[in-house]
Symmetry: C2
Subunit: 431 residues, 2 copies
């Protein structure tokens, strides 16, 4: 029996009781943060031995002899290219290793396209209109970059297998102003969905009206599994090549949530023709990135196996946190039918869909009781969720105990706001 099946009287009684619980929780003066996808301290502790692999006695040369303390090797050292390639199943020749942030690479890729175009295309700043497809809900920082550059963003509904491909195919093939699509293809932000093989193949086979259309493939959670049973993502560069579209994709990847957030390494993976184009511009921007940190990562992890062993430690810490949140959601909200949520097998987030029109009020109510969530609307372009329904939960930073408390407050807020919404609808109906 869901909330909607309750009578007005029952709802009012329930509301009264819930309000009392909420006031009690609020009176505790908590400060809990479930807003950002940030590793917690113990995850970072796991990588501390990485700080020992380079010391004053070290041979600080790349295997090809490059002195990692000096200028040069603009696109990265070979062993780190190989490590990154193994994370995403690509070839080292398709990798440029940059600095510490894949977001920075994505920003620079958009910025370069705005000022200089893509492989000789008209710079976007010379065009009347540039548009991007944005699977929603999605990652707020992606949308912020395209908004910053005045790109018009078009919402594309997400499904459990990826973006609505009928819509993507139709738009991309018919509108030359559409220059890109933002994708987090594995353990998506915020749902934790992984694109199906069919979705990847259909993306790789797109026939864009714009020659400078690129898939922005933010493979942020390539190795971020919570369970032994893992999602598998098709390697997209190979699929693009097979489909006769070798240059269709810019892939991004980093170790921000593997080694250190902010002191990791980031990379772009793309066809050799794309990399030639990118490096032409890059040579004006820098002489090269921090190769000591690149070497540090290559020596510490050695290969994909090393990363996998490391990420298992992360999973053991994070999994109970996801489960703590999901347990409360399942126990408290399953029957009420005032929301749905995802149960990811990896990544950093849980996506919650409240009754339409309720998300902002829920986030506000949580905040009043000391629980900070990602702002409602943040998962949509321009910060506008047309349904005011989606809320992103980020369980990695607090402890499981804190998460249980925070999720209970969340659930109370969901219930209270939902009851008010249902009562309002009843009032409208009777009015």
């Amino acid at each position: 029996m869901s909330y909607r099946d309750l009578s007005r009287k029952e709802l009012l009684e329930l509301k009264k009781q819930l309000e009392q619980e909420y006031q009690e929780a609020k009176s505790k003066g908590l400060t809990l943060d479930m807003s950002r996808g940030k590793p917690e301290g113990r995850q970072l502790d796991f990588a501390m031995p990485m700080l020992d692999v380079l010391n004053s006695e070290s041979h600080v040369k790349s295997i090809d002899g490059t002195d990692c303390r000096n200028y040069g090797a603009m696109d990265g050292i070979i062993e780190t290219k190989t490590l990154i390639a193994s994370m995403v199943g690509a070839s080292p020749k398709n990798v440029i290793v940059y600095g510490n942030s894949s977001l920075n690479i994505m920003y620079d890729s958009i910025s370069r396209s705005v000022t200089h175009g893509v492989m000789g295309s008209t710079p976007w700043c010379k065009l009347d209109k540039v548009k991007f497809l944005c699977p929603v809900p999605g990652y707020d920082r992606h949308f912020a970059i395209t908004e910053h550059f005045g790109v018009e963003m078009i919402n594309i509904p997400m499904t459990t297998t990826g973006p609505d491909m009928d819509m993507v195919e139709h738009l991309v093939s018919s509108d030359p102003a559409i220059k890109g699509i933002w994708c987090v293809p594995k353990y998506s932000n915020p749902q934790g969905y992984t694109y199906s093989n069919e979705t990847v193949k259909r993306l790789a086979a797109l026939k864009p009206a714009a020659s400078d259309f690129r898939i922005y493939w933010d493979n942020a959670y390539a190795v971020h599994h919570l369970y032994e049973e893992q999602d598998e993502l098709l390697e997209i560069l190979g699929e693009c090549e097979k489909a006769g579209n070798p240059d269709l994709v810019y892939e991004f990847c980093s170790t921000s949530k593997v080694s250190f957030a902010g002191a990791g390494i980031a990379a772009m993976i793309a066809s050799e023709a794309n990399l030639v184009d990118v490096k032409k511009q890059l040579a004006f921007q820098t002489i090269g990135y921090d190769k000591l940190n690149q070497l540090r990562h290559a020596l510490y992890f050695e290969d994909l196996g090393g990363i996998q062993v490391h990420m298992k430690k992360h999973a053991e810490l994070i999994r109970p946190k996801f489960e703590a949140v999901l347990k409360v959601l399942n126990e408290e909200l399953s029957w009420a039918k005032v929301g749905t949520w995802t149960e990811p097998k990896g990544g950093y987030f849980i996506s919650f869909d409240a009754l339409p029109g309720c998300a902002s009020a829920i986030v506000e109510k949580c905040k009043e009781a000391g629980v900070v969530l990602t702002g409602a609307g943040a998962t949509f372009p321009y910060g506008k969720d047309p349904e005011d329904s989606n809320i992103r939960l980020a369980p990695t930073c607090p402890t499981p105990e804190e998460l249980e408390v925070a999720t209970k407050i969340f659930v109370l807020s969901v219930k209270l706001v939902s009851i008010e919404a249902i009562l309002d609808t009843c009032n409208e109906k009777t009015a």
Copy 2:
């Protein structure tokens, strides 16, 4: 008695003898590189203990408690701001610490101005014409950035006290299309000149026609002295403030030639209003830079004193190299009067001016004999030295012994090309 005073016959005899010496040198099959301002291995060795200050046992928190392994502190940690501020004589509140490359910050500053303007000004990509003043000879990578963005560059003659300020003042105050000037104010690239107090004050007191005009103050060699007796540079932020122009300057600085080239830290120093403007954009580009490397630098050097002690070791290695080059130039070329050169007290370069029309041929002749120099023209916008006269010598990478050999080949090339030029002039006169 200079070459010009010699008779045609004497010149021809001299040429014959020099050609023999040149062929002998060439037959040795040397490969020597005096082309780039790169530290040599032993300079980098000095900084190796820096790799020990952070290890698996370290407390990796900033003094304000920021965990340097995690996201946050977009504009840098306070102790590293303080260290950078001390290098340039500014205040930590005026510093943003970035990643590993000041060139990257300069590129990004131009790119940001192109796409988003400066403090609310019209983005440069929306303007018909944007111009930059370029003191010449100057740094090729500066000119390459502005050329890459289609900025028109105007040559400004350099003097021993800085750019020709009459010309700068006239142009900047009369042409609103002029948006910036590239400056390497201390131990300039390539001359090793340091701007006089008067030059700094006049720059700080400019009354630009464009509100978005900025001085690009690349203080690359702030602590790079070769001798106890050092050049002093007036701190420009303070001068700008005194002159009622607090927002006139973007200053840049790095430890690329202090700690590790490519694995150092870089910073921008500017008024708080400028930094607010810059950070507004930066928040779209990154969550933050590598704070572990920032902390590593702060802990290792501690303060300006630590940097100065460190840089003395550099000076002891580099000084003999500069002196080896200058000794040969003085011994071999003083009397001939076929070139002039600078004798810097710091920085990374010696600037050589050959007879007009001779630079390209000299560089080519050196190359034939195995000595690589910076390309002729590289020190000018568009790679075009109108006089074909300037050659940049970069003595830091080879050993003093190699430098002596390389400089002898350089001198032979200068002599041979100059004699040919003088003979050509004689032929023209007699024709």
